[in-house]
Chain length 354, copies 2
DNA sequence: CTGAAAGCGCTTACAG
DNA sequence: CTGAAAGCGCTTACAG
């Protein structure tokens, strides 16, 4: 991005110009004030802090607002007050249920306060993350909620220059400058391996997709726990950068079993992959868990209901969103919380598939 | 909402006041112009329409932008130009894969043009829809993408007053004033019934949740097709307003079979419900489709892979989002498309479950 | 291709 | 509790 052409594109279709519709002006606060018979100032205060205005005038203003169907101009407000009610939220996916739960938590924590959420889907691309952040930074948000700890240099630079509170979600930062709310992906990966080992499985395979930062950490946890048991074998890993889907899980289990037919268990880096793996095994007459144990990660709603039900790691993603938003609120208010990195943990859910 | 207190809440924590940080001013276009040794005007044009500026000056401005890490102030731009690059998008759910696909289509259609998407999740609540629209209208978006045709009176009023192009998604409008891109939910519901009838099923049950406008239309299609065949029996319907989940599907199939144990097929108003119904039947030893046929609606990714695979109606939701965005672009450009209501159809996908 | 002036619709201090 | 003035950071015509 060295070319300013694309930095702040203004390639919109020619809009209606002001001069072409001199009559159809929007109704402004001045119109409201005029109609209510009060000054602009009083009208402004009646809306932004009603307690500063006498009951009588407030009612007049409210009536005028209703009669004129007045809509405040957020741009003018933001410009004059030098602050905004916007919060930028960047997640890597909308189709991954993990992040829709995170968003729900954020919405519940922030919605009641009247914040405008600027939600962006980065599609697991640091370039799209950069583009979206650049775009939303133009709205001068009061705070930023990011997914993961590692951003590209341009993003880190923008964040630093902006000087706006930031909280990272779904992972735990060890950098005191970056606040975070999440869980140890590494520990969670290792925990699943220990469960499989405790069940007696010894030839444990691994299926992973997307290979984002958090998946890599789970992978490291998987490897460390197996190495610790002296059972790590790279032939049992199938890892591809493609987006996780049920279909991909079906394909990857096929590849794994072709490479290492003697696997007695498979840890899938997320539930979608595990669903595909299980369905594919069923098609091939491989009984789960008798012939092969399969486990997932995240505990999506289907996991408890499918047959066999899926052993998995439950991640507190709704709470991650909720608590990250709460932490961000504190930071935006200028507080300095003792804990800027909140570990919400995870839980192993043992079901029929292992 | 008769109280202005809550109309435009300003309940934010006390922000840093301008006077408290006189030095740490944001860098403005004037700073950029100064550094580049050009006038404010030239700097402005270099960013918004580089062709209007000589190569030499443009490069200077670009350098200054980079050196100062300048971020344009969207509020100032919006205020001065009386238009915004924002588009408000309201969907009823993030957890329903249908709408994340719709959002992906919108993102692909609009992203390249540099629009800022103001995405809101109404949670199937017309009150939340109203609140979100009121909020986003303050940003004076250039266009609005809505889910469904029916909004509450306040929303319709706001839409009318705003005079901004609007496109409804996922359904088809018969009101020429409301543009729409979607499919006939009624026809799709009826199509599934005809399929089941053609397979020889005669005692067809129905499971529905959420009961939003589109579900109701599918229900009407279901009923009409059965009445036409002389086979409609209200005892075979189980409908609840709760959100659709796999767990709910498992519960509702239990209720249906308790009420009407002789059903030979069940049409679920969406795939999630169907998954739950199938898993529950498997637990009870009910063979599908031998003992009971089950079908869904939407064709989510799992439907093709589960065992048995699910007969369902595929809806073109990605394309709905994409085409709705395209139509909106035309409307925003002031064009008057011949077709303001685009039927993208649906397709019956017959699989193992029926 | 470049520039000086006016103004977008609000809020912020500062007075009263 | 209420008000007149200034200004937020840009873009829009209008000139040259």
């Amino acid at each position: 991005m060295s070319d300013t052409d694309s930095l702040f594109p203004e390639t919109l279709p020619p809009a209606r110009r002001r001069s072409r519709r001199p009559a159809a002006q929007r109704t402004t606060l001045a119109d409201v004030a005029h109609r209510a018979g009060v000054s602009l100032m009083t009208a402004s205060r009646a809306l932004s802090d009603p307690r500063q205005v006498s009951e009588k005038l407030r009612v007049k203003v409210e009536q005028a607002v209703a009669e004129l169907a007045y809509v405040p101009n957020r741009a003018a407000r933001a410009l004059a007050s030098a602050r905004s009610h916007a919060i930028a939220v960047l997640v890597p996916s909308f189709s991954n249920a993990v992040f829709t739960d995170v968003l729900a938590g954020i919405q519940d924590a922030l919605g009641p306060d009247g914040y405008q959420l600027l939600i962006g889907n980065t599609r697991y691309s640091s370039e799209e993350e950069e583009t979206l952040l650049r775009l939303h930074l133009q709205s001068h948000p009061a705070g930023i909620l990011l997914t993961g700890l590692t951003q590209n240099d341009a993003v880190n630079k923008m964040l630093e220059v902006a000087g706006i509170p930031v909280v990272s979600m779904m992972d735990l930062s060890d950098d005191p400058r970056r606040a975070s709310v999440g869980l140890s992906q590494y520990d969670a990966g290792a925990a699943m391996v220990r469960h499989l080992l405790s069940r007696g499985y010894r030839r444990i395979g691994y299926l992973a997709a997307q290979l984002d930062e958090r998946t890599i950490k789970r992978t490291e946890g998987f490897r460390a726990a197996l190495r610790e048991a002296g059972l790590y074998d790279p032939r049992r890993e199938v890892m591809v950068p493609d987006p996780s889907t049920v279909a991909l899980g079906a394909e990857l289990i096929g590849r794994l079993l072709a490479n290492a037919p003697d696997c007695d268990a498979v840890f899938c880096c997320n539930d979608d992959l595990a669903y595909g793996a299980i369905y594919q095994c069923q098609r091939r007459g491989i009984a789960i868990p008798r012939d092969l144990a399969i486990s997932g990660f995240n505990d999506l709603p289907t996991s408890a209901w499918m047959n066999p039900s899926l052993t998995t790691i439950a991640t507190p993603r709704y709470r991650v969103g909720y608590e990250a938003a709460q932490l961000l609120k504190r930071l935006m208010a200028g507080e300095e919380p003792q804990t800027r990195n909140i570990d919400l943990g995870f839980s192993l859910i043992v079901r029929e598939s292992t």
